[in-house]
């Protein structure tokens, strides 16, 4: 009853092209943003802000980046963590060596560096596809990590290879509380998500999807293969690079190359599989799911331990967590390959009909 579109007519193409064509959606999103920007910083405690919400946003951004490359453009990549590492370490170097730039321009430049790396390692995509390409991106993952570890310049010749992100300062205002870090991350992620959504519903997005669905046909109708694929790598790596910079500056604080291993790449891949490939919303849903699941499991096992008097060790819990991750991947791939985003769409369809069954 509530979620009806009756009476909402679109009389121009512009109205039809909106991101949220249904008025109730627009209201819901506005409400959500208001809560995220205003209510949450006031109400949430430090743990939630710095250990859950901020990393969720950062991973959502990285997942968004990977989704652009793998979900929309169909180029499977296992090098996400490497691009994040480039973003993190380049941001550090820009802030360190050119402090007059400012944080936001440094982040942007770091993203562009990541984009450049992405283009280089995306070149093989012009000749190879599918999981062969995935193996090529593994080369990127291992090589970039080795380069950062071996070449002292990246870590300012730190003997342990660990760098400490400088405090974030924009226009004289210091971002050093959990609230301010959260808001900074939220702001950056929200803007980039909007840009991504705009991009994916324009010609670029269509070109990506065309290359994903049938690249020979795409080429025949005039879509340039090389430019499109490399652009996908560039934009995706940019997003991952900025996510990496945020990872260092608003979450970790002290960063080592080992924070960006293949394991992280897999995690982000899982986020988009579970959340929904080829969907901006899916990136957020998947990131939320993967970020919250360990906490949920810990609580669950903690409660089980208490109720049943069992002593379930932390190691067992983390192993079970691995198994559940893996199991969920298989489950989603089999049952709903388009992930949570599609389930959400189905729920909305049902909601439009509610309270009628069909």
């Amino acid at each position: 009853m509530l979620y009806r579109e009756a009476g909402q007519f679109k009389s121009t193409y512009a109205e039809d092209q909106q991101i949220f064509p249904i008025r109730q959606d627009r209201i819901a999103v506005a409400l959500l943003l208001a809560i995220a920007f205003v209510v949450v910083p006031m109400v949430a405690n430090q743990y939630w802000l710095s250990a859950i919400l901020t990393p969720f946003l950062i991973f959502a951004l990285a997942a968004l980046g990977l989704n652009i490359l793998t979900g929309y453009a169909g180029q499977l990549s296992l090098g996400t963590a490497a691009f994040m590492a480039v973003g993190a370490f380049m941001a550090y170097n820009f802030v360190l060596r050119m402090p007059w730039l400012g944080i936001i321009p440094s982040f942007i430049l770091a993203g562009i560096c990541a984009a450049a790396v992405g283009i280089v390692f995306g070149l093989p995509s012009l000749r190879i596809k599918g999981f062969y390409l995935a193996v090529a991106t593994l080369a990127c993952q291992f090589f970039v990590l080795w380069a950062i570890q071996r070449i002292g310049w990246f870590t300012n010749n730190s003997p342990s290879g660990v760098i400490t992100a400088q405090t974030v300062e924009i226009l004289g205002y210091t971002f050093d509380t959990p609230q301010s870090k959260y808001l900074l991350t939220l702001g950056i992620v929200a803007v980039l998500a909007l840009l991504a959504k705009n991009l994916m519903r324009s010609e670029t997005g269509r070109a990506f999807m065309a290359v994903r669905d049938m690249d020979v046909a795409a080429s025949v109708i005039g879509i340039p293969m090389m430019k499109t694929k490399l652009l996908a790598f560039a934009i995706s790596s940019f997003y991952c690079g900025v996510a990496g910079a945020l990872y260092a500056y608003t979450y970790l604080g002290t960063v080592e190359p080992e924070a960006f291993t293949l394991d992280l790449s897999f995690r982000i891949l899982f986020m988009i599989i579970i959340g929904g490939v080829g969907s901006i919303l899916g990136s957020f849903l998947g990131a939320a799911f993967i970020t919250l699941l360990p906490i949920f499991l810990n609580v669950l096992f903690g409660a089980a331990s208490h109720t049943f008097g069992l002593d379930i060790s932390h190691a067992i819990v983390s192993n079970i967590e691995l198994m559940i991750f893996g199991g969920l991947i298989i489950f989603f791939l089999a049952v709903e390959p388009h992930g949570l985003a599609r389930l959400w769409q189905i729920a909305k369809e049902k909601l439009r009909l509610w309270p009628f069954p069909h």
Binding site: A139, I330, L333
Partner: protein, 300 residues
């Protein structure tokens, strides 16, 4: 010791290490040949096999009995994987199946450690990892006894697999399925049974690989990463060729070792972490189907 014999020592050491990679790659090839699935979980299977075997040994189970039990576990695992993972995904594109095997990897890794614990174990097969004395004495080269033993095992394994595929009824059925599922069905070959058999055989291969690697490096979580090294081997050798897995392994093993020893010091070492992948990458650009694979043709 002269430069030349040092070179040969590194080369042979690399070749033998490569054989170890081939052992893992063999499992991939078997499954890919028969079901077209690229089983990313092969490394996890190697780990599970090694861990199960070692844990049984440590609990006092007799060596051969432990072997049999582990083999049974791998066979059951193969059948379970076919039922739970492959069948629900039967008509999906290969990339989906590949991602499902990534999920499977995590499941197996978690399962292995949940059941047997996560401490590293040592595994002693009775052959020490020491240089062969008479070889060192006569040529001045230090070649590990264990490496030679592993190569011998690998050779026996490959030979038996080759015989199995060519001369038995089941082997023929496997080759038919690898060629064309529909045609195999049309002549009455029971596809599901075949896949279960293939995964079981791959499990056996994983067990052998797990034993070799476990004895060499210890049975620990890092074993799962060996699977990743098998990927460049497969790219070089082609995904469907047993011979390719061997040749690819030899090439990767040798070039990796040589690069590390001769180029490594110039750039601070650690080349082994990425060199194999870069070689695979360059190879992909020139000959995507590998040395022995079949050319992939895209038709509109």
């Amino acid at each position: 010791m002269t430069n030349l014999s040092f070179f040969f020592e590194v080369l042979i050491g690399g070749l033998l290490a490569g054989v170890m990679y081939s052992l893992v790659a063999l499992g991939f090839v078997l499954i890919y040949k028969a079901s077209g699935v690229f089983n990313f979980a092969q490394g996890a299977m190697v780990f599970l096999a090694a861990l199960t075997f070692v844990s049984l040994l440590e609990r006092g189970v007799n060596f051969w009995l432990a072997l049999v039990i582990t083999l049974a576990v791998m066979v059951v695992l193969g059948i379970a994987i076919e039922k739970v993972v492959l069948r629900p995904l039967v008509n999906q594109p290969p990339i989906t199946l590949f991602m499902a095997t990534i999920g499977l990897t995590f499941v197996l890794e978690g399962l292995s450690q949940a059941v047997w614990g996560s401490q590293p174990h040592g595994l002693d097969l009775g052959i020490a990892d020491v240089p062969m004395q008479w070889l060192a004495d006569s040529t001045g080269m230090f070649i590990s006894q264990f490496d030679l033993f592993a190569s011998g095992i690998a050779a026996v394994l490959v030979a038996s697999l080759a015989l199995f595929f060519h001369y038995t009824r089941i082997g023929r059925a496997l080759r038919a399925v690898a060629d064309d599922h529909q045609a195999a069905l049309a002549v009455g070959i029971p596809l599901k049974n075949i896949w279960a058999i293939v995964w079981a055989v791959a499990g056996f291969v994983a067990l052998v690989a797990g034993l070799m690697w476990g004895a060499r490096n210890g049975v620990q979580f890092a074993l799962t990463f060996i699977a990743l090294k098998a990927l460049p081997v497969l790219i070089l050798g082609g995904f469907e060729s047993i011979l390719g897995a061997i040749v690819g392994g030899l090439i990767i093993g040798a070039s990796e070792k040589l690069a590390e020893v001769y180029f490594g010091p110039m750039v601070g070492g650690g080349i082994e972490s990425w060199f194999a992948y870069v070689i695979a990458l360059l190879f992909l650009l020139v000959r995507p189907q590998g040395l022995f694979g079949e050319k992939i043709i895209d038709r509109v």
